[in-house]
Each structure stands twice: as C-alpha cells, then as structure tokens.
Symmetry: C2
Subunit: 172 residues, 2 copies
Amino acid sequence: MDIHQFLELFVGRWRSQRSDHQFSQENGSDIRSVIDIIALSGDHLEVLAICQKYNVEAIASTQPMQLSWEEESLSSNKPKGKSLFVAVPDPLNANKGLILTDYAKGNYEFAEDESLSIQTITDQGLIEERVWYGNPNLRFRVATLVQTNFTSDRVVSSSKFYSEIRVAPPKP
Amino acid sequence: MDIHQFLELFVGRWRSQRSDHQFSQENGSDIRSVIDIIALSGDHLEVLAICQKYNVEAIASTQPMQLSWEEESLSSNKPKGKSLFVAVPDPLNANKGLILTDYAKGNYEFAEDESLSIQTITDQGLIEERVWYGNPNLRFRVATLVQTNFTSDRVVSSSKFYSEIRVAPPKP
C-alpha cells in the first residue's frame, strides 16, 4: 500500500468513537460522531486555493479530500465542522510530505508498517497524530497535544483515541 | 534508544486509564488501574522457569520484569492480576524477538520510531499491541483483538487504548 492507496481508503462515511484522556484532570470522556469524507479533484477551486495559500503546486497533491463531521448530541446545536485535507507528497520521496488543512500545514510520514504520522504546529502546541487501519473498514487514530516549552521536556497535555467504522462506501 | 533502554523505562508505578471500544456493541467504557512494574534479575527463579517452559535460554533475555495491576473499583473485590514479562531479543537483530508472559508467547518488533509492536496468538484470537512513550513518564498502548477466520478478512472485535502516567520511580 502506498500513501495514495492509504488515503483513498479514507473516502466514505465513518462512525467515530473518541476517548479523551486529559492529563490535567482525572476525567475522560467518550464522544461519538459521524464523519463524511469526499474525494475532490486536484483542480477543485478549494484545493487550488489552499495550495496557493501555502505556496504549494496544486498538481503535486494526491487524493485531496473534504472532511466534515457532526457529533452525536441530544442538543439541537450539535458540534460540527469541516476542513479540506490535502496531502502533498515530497516529489523525491512520496512517503514524506505536507498535509494542508483549513487550520494549519503539517508534515506527514508514511511508515513501512502502513501507518501515517502527522505533525502539526498549532497555537495550542504540537499535535502528533498517527492513523492506521485495523482493516479497510476500521480506522484508528491517536492524536496527542504536546506543549513545547523552553526546556527540552515534552509535556503532553492530552491524548485522543479514535476508532472509526466505515458505515458507507464512497459516494459515486 | 534501543529495546533494552525502552523496556528499562517500563519499571515503576503507573496510573493507567483504559478506554475500551467494542465493535459488537455501542458501549465503550473507561477503566482506571494502578500498575506496578519491577525489574527482575536474569537468574530469578521465575524467569528461569518461564524461559524453560518456552524452551528459551534465560541468558538471552533482556530486562525481565514482573507486572502487577489492580483496577480502581468501589467493590471490595477489585480485579487484579500479575504476570512476568520477559523479552528475548533475536541474537542477530535485537529489534525483533520474543515476549514471554504467564499467558502466552508473542513476537515483538521494535521500530525505528521507537515503538514496540507485539503480536500474540491466544485462544481469543490474535492480539496486536503497540506501546510507545509520549515522554519518559507517559506511556501509551493500543491493543486490538483480531479474529482470524478461514477467509482473509481481518475481523477486529475490540480495541483498547491505554494512557499511563508514571506515579513512582523504580524501587531501589
């Protein structure tokens, strides 16, 4: 499996369960949501725009997608959001490259064990994410938030574990 | 960091939080426990015995340990247990080898990204585990149970995510 095939499997509707482990407090929580991932063409206007924003050639992107999610909640005001997700492989080594989203530009590495690691520097700190498949219809993710400070200590302030079951195939 | 240094960091008392994601039912649950890990000498009687049981030279083991855990629970009958944990590196490549426990013999692989993967065949199915550190006092684990059947499908029946915070250093 290469990075393109790996990302191709993203496309579809997923039912997601997330467990939050906060290290500043004792409480964890479980959140369920539905995630829709649709493939975009490389010359989609939004893909062109985000590539331009980060000064990247849109033609270099692979399997650009739009992700949208909505949390299950009894309130009428369900938390939801959406973002582009555009991978831009390094032309010399497709196992490394950039991930462009609406929020930030991250770096990815696709490892021999077919896991995708993404590192993104944000206002809150460094987000380290790892994505892998249990099988083609079951996706796992672990995201940790690392506070970078003036010492060399890695202060991890939270981690989230997601298991995501595919509930619908890609739309035709 | 090599496999020995990685395992050395295991030693100590850990406060563990576990999130269970079951795929046969909608419910997840969070379980907290305390884990004590003590280092054993390579010629400890129990280490010798488990190596003999699996027909392995005890002198080949590295950083043998005893793990014991007790779940936090309001009932007086708290779930608890203990097990040996004995890594036996392949003499030609220490990044691969065996993990012997009271329950089974598994195979490990220590990857370049300093994560330890363990595969163990049990009566319940194949247990795939990955262990890594957020920092030296924060350990993460994901364990998935894969049902192997006569088709080539990988049926994952459950996954557990653990975040474990060191609460005490190794005993002297």
